[in-house]
Every structure is written in C-alpha cells, then in structure tokens.
C-alpha cells in the first residue's frame, strides 16, 4: 500500500517531573506511549498532534513489523497523500494518561507499591491530558503545533490546547465534538459506568489483584456506547429485524442480528480494554467544560484562543450532534477567530468521523493544504 505510512514503531517517553492533576492529585512520574509519522522540518513548524477519543491510542497509522494486521485507528486519514499528509507534516499520536495501551494508567504498576494503580490512579481530565501532551511536545522539540486534531473526546483536547497553550497551536480541528457534554450525554456515560461499577468482579477498581476482570460491566458499557455511536438508519439498514435463525425461538438468547452484533462488539472490546480506563475516559468527557471556571460563559472562555479553527460535524451524529459543534463555532465567531464549519452528510452517526468519506476528506485536505503552505515549507 503506497499510501500507508508503512511499518511504524511505538516509542515510550518517560517523565520524572511530577504532574499535578486538576483534582489536586499528583503523579510523581509517568510514561506516555507515542508514535510519529513523517519528518519534522528544520524549522520544527510542521508538527500535527492527533488526540484520541474514548477507546483510541497512539497507534494512529501504519502497521507493526510483527503484526501486519494491526492497522492504526485513523489510517484512512493519516498517511502519504492522505488528508493529514505525512509527506508534508510530522504527525504525532499518543496514548493518553490513564489509558490501557502502554501509557501510565490504572493497570500500570505503581512503583511506590509494586501493585497496579487500580482505584488509586488519579481522576484525569482533558486539561491534565493536554498538560501531559505539552510535555511530550517539549521532549520532541515542538514549540508550536501547526495543528492539533481530534474527533469526539479528542476534539475536546484540541479545543483545550487552544485555551491552555494559545501560543503553541496554530490550528485546531475539532471533529464530531462538543464544547461540553449535555445532560443526556452525561447520562449515557453514567449508565456505562454503573454497568462497570456494579459488576461483582470490579472490586472497587482493584480487580487486578483478584485475578478477575469486570467483563460483564465493560461489555454492557460498550454495547450501550455502540448504540449511541450508530445512527438509527444505519442500524435499520444493516440489521433491520433480521433474525439469526430465521425464526423466533421465544427465549433470551441471541435472536435478532443486532443482538448478535452488539454482543460481539461488547465481547471484543472487553477482551482488550481496561474497565478503569473506560471509567476515567467517560469522566474526563463529563468534566470537560472550558467555561466551568468562568460562570458558564463560553464566549469568555474562548477569548484566550489565538488559533484558527475548523469544526466538522456529521448530520446523523446524535451523540455529538451538529448543534454541539455549532456551540463551538459561536464563541469563536464572538471572539473573531478564523473559523470554518462543515456539516458532513453521512449516514454513520458518531462513528462517521472514523470512516472514509470523500467529501469529509476533501474538507480536511483543503484546510490542511493551506496549513501546509504556511507551516510545512
């Protein structure tokens, strides 16, 4: 595949300077897994940071030498000649703190105790992530990103970059995101968390020591999440009322194809994802609100931003609907930021931001081509 970044290697950055979280908790030392694609130019001006969403990680594009089937989660978007063009940009992907793909998180060993952090891992916020990402940027010698890009929860991190480090980010691409969650969105997260918290195998978050995993809870959480990531139309198209055995069995086993699909997705996810990480990520989503400390006024919150913005939403996304994206656009207009907004007609709900779609890709490509003209010479 000529448009793939090809074989990539994950790297580990170690930080020995304590990080103080928003909650007041302190992590004395931590590690972040990251990958990079493309070349950093001499002026160090062509770097793009990709922030991941709830279940993402540092493996954004390409494959591993020993695992050719493990393709990066945004490989359709990131690569040579792709919308996020690695011929022009130096692209950095990382696994956030609290994650379960190698960066320090609840399942990592706490050097102080020799046991997994479990429930003692600090509650991590979008602000904390961005602070840790800035330290990674320092390590890589990146003073200012040409762009910080993210979808969903990743979009929130991209927005936070423009508020926490206005002088360190030239462009923000917030895709299928929101300035803050609505009550309905928080409600979905709470049901997902309750599924995990009430699983008898959860053991207050310290299930590692018990040699068990709260699989049932994590599975339910993912099934619920998955429903909200798809659109009604896509589910109807893909599954309708189709029956696995072609007839009613009058029981509680899988009968409808949608049940089979959701259980499969739940099982697959629960087999590799850490339940504590899932809890942390959903809380980070709920907590994020740039106007939390400014009386709820987003106009005031975004007054700090200096970046240019591209905001993208998808018509059938009801978890992060176009209305939420407009709530990002409005304070940017109020503050006279350069901002463009595209509403992509797509059938795939929230998942659209991860899917190949010609017009969506044209929008991102057109925007980043101009960024490249300015920063990737």
């Amino acid at each position: 595949m000529s448009d793939s970044v090809g074989i990539v290697t994950a790297q580990c950055a170690r930080f020995d300077t304590p990080l103080t979280f928003r909650s007041g908790a302190v992590l004395p030392r931590y590690e972040l897994m990251y990958e990079t694609y493309g070349e950093l130019n001499a002026a160090r001006s062509n770097a793009i940071l990709i922030c991941h969403a709830l279940s993402g990680h540092h493996h954004v594009a390409g494959v591993y030498a020993d695992d050719a089937k493990n393709i990066g989660w945004w490989d359709n978007m990131v690569g040579p000649g792709k919308p996020i063009d690695t011929n022009k940009f130096f692209v950095v992907g990382l696994n956030n703190l609290g994650g379960c793909h190698g960066s320090t998180g609840p399942s990592s060993i706490d050097p102080a105790t020799g046991q997994p952090y479990g429930s003692s891992f600090p509650m991590v916020t979008v602000e904390d992530w961005v602070a840790s990402q800035a330290r990674l940027a320092d390590l890589l010698g990146i003073k200012r990103f040409a762009a910080v890009i993210g979808g969903s929860l990743g979009g929130m991190q991209a927005l936070q970059w423009s508020l926490a480090y206005p002088e360190r980010v030239a462009n923000v691409l917030a895709i299928a995101s929101a300035p803050r969650l609505t009550a309905q969105n928080i409600a979905f997260n709470d049901v997902a968390r309750n599924a995990i918290l009430t699983d008898p195998d959860f053991h207050g978050g310290n299930y590692y020591q018990h040699g068990v995993v709260p699989t049932r809870g994590l599975r339910l959480a993912r099934m619920l999440g998955h429903i909200t990531y798809l659109s009604d139309d896509v589910m109807a198209d893909k599954f309708g009322r189709e029956l696995r055995d072609g007839k009613y069995n009058y029981g509680y086993d899988v009968e409808f194809q949608i049940e089979s699909y959701l259980r499969y997705q739940g099982d697959k996810f629960a087999a590799y994802f850490d339940a504590n990480t899932y809890l942390l990520m959903t809380k980070a989503l709920d907590y994020f609100d740039p106007a939390h400390l400014s009386g709820g006024d987003l106009n005031q919150a975004f007054a700090r931003a200096q970046a240019d913005f591209l905001v993208v939403s998808f018509t059938t996304d009801w978890r992060f609907s176009p209305e939420r994206s407009r709530e990002i656009v409005q304070p940017l207009l109020h503050n006279r930021r350069n901002v463009s907004y595209a509403e992509i007609t797509s059938a795939h709900g929230h998942d659209s931001f991860l899917m190949p779609h010609a017009h969506y890709f044209d929008v991102v490509r057109a925007y980043l081509n101009n960024v490249a003209k300015e920063y990737a010479q």
């Binding site: 109020h334 006279r336 901002v339 463009s340 907004y341 017009h359 044209d362 057109a366 101009n370």
Partner: protein, 204 residues
C-alpha cells in the same frame, strides 16, 4: 493572490469592484451565500477585511477552504441564529437575494447582525429580459443562465421592485450602483443595467 487573479475576478464579477468600493479597509464582513468564497477572497486581498461566509453547498465549502476564507455551512433560509446582533460592519448578499425563499426575513436578519447591508442581484427589468418576455419566453442570459424549470431564482425583481420592497421593510438605501458588464449605468438604469448593487442600513 496575484494582481492578475484580482483583475480576473473583477472582470468576471463586475459587482465585486462595486461592493469593494463601499467597504473600508479592515471592516468585518459576512457574505451570505458566499459560493466558492471568491468575493471574500477578493475583499480580503483588496480591503483586508475580516470575513466570514455562509454557504449550504458541499462543493462550495471545499472551494472556500481552498480559497482560504472562513465559511460556515448553513442554510440561509433557516436564519442567521449563529450570529450575534451587530456582529459585522457589513452583511453582503451577492447574487443570492433572488434565490432566497424568505427574502424579507433575511433582509431583516442582515440588518440585525450587520450595521450595513449590501445586495447585488440580476436586474429583471433589463431590456434583454423584457425582450424575452415580449417574445413570449422566460429570459435566459449571461446573468440569468437558467431555464425556468431548473432555476434556483425564485424571487427575481427589478430595481423598482427592490426599492419598493426596501420602503416596505423600513430599509434605508444609502447608495446604488447599476452595471452592464463592467460599465456603470446612470441613464435609464432599470432598462439598461443588468446587475444592481445596493447599500443600505436600518431605516428610522
């Protein structure tokens, strides 16, 4: 943008220069139905405006991004609720008025979000259009290139019509520029002009 490009745009769209002539350097501008962003780019290059466009068409959104101008994807007929009162010095409706459904509501919205409004539209009173009608056919011309069955232009009007409409909407016209090609028309403008450009503000 090179001077050649600026000149090419000005030649293709004679209303651009007429609009730009009214806009002071550094003004804030909202261009409704901004198409591929040519006007905004022209105003950015020639008047250093802080500009935003509103456009519904997907292809045009991409063109605006290619042109490096801000564009907000939205349907004009659903209003300008994304924009605050008095947010812009100028709100422009260039060659779009005739294709809007809720024209009166939109003109009022223009003067809510902007201090001044500018519209340009094809003058339906132009003699060529009148000849077409006299000959019993709907007009098709360079400025009105559509057939009656595929035209987006649902609200065509003449200079006289627009001026009467302005009175009705309590809109105060402060300047008018009527063009035929690149030429400004001062004599019998409603008959000899093919494109009309108006500058207006809230009436008292």
């Amino acid at each position: 943008m090179s001077n050649d490009e600026i000149n090419r745009l000005a030649a293709e769209r004679p209303d651009f220069a007429a609009i730009a002539a009214w806009i002071p350097k550094g003004a804030s501008v909202l261009d409704l139905g901004c198409g591929d962003g040519s006007l905004l780019r022209y105003l950015k290059e020639t008047r250093s405006v802080k500009g935003y466009g509103v456009e519904i068409n997907d292809m045009d959104i991409v063109s605006c991004l290619v042109n490096g101008v801000n564009v907000i994807q939205n349907d004009l007929d659903s209003g300008l609720s994304d924009f605050e009162d008095n947010a812009f010095d100028f709100v422009i409706l260039s060659q779009t008025l005739q294709a809007t459904r809720h024209t009166e509501a939109l003109v009022k919205e223009m003067l809510r979000v902007g201090h001044e409004g500018i519209v340009s539209f094809p003058n339906f009173g132009h003699w060529q259009n009148r000849l077409h009608i006299l000959a019993g056919r709907m007009p098709v011309s360079r400025v009105l290139p559509y057939q009656w069955y595929d035209t987006p232009n649902v609200h065509l009007c003449t200079l006289h019509d627009f001026e009467a409409f302005s009175k009705r909407c309590a809109v105060n016209i402060t300047a008018r520029s009527v063009m035929m090609g690149e030429r400004e028309i001062r004599f019998l403008p409603n008959l000899l002009g093919s494109t009309a450009v108006y500058r207006f503000q809230r009436g008292i």
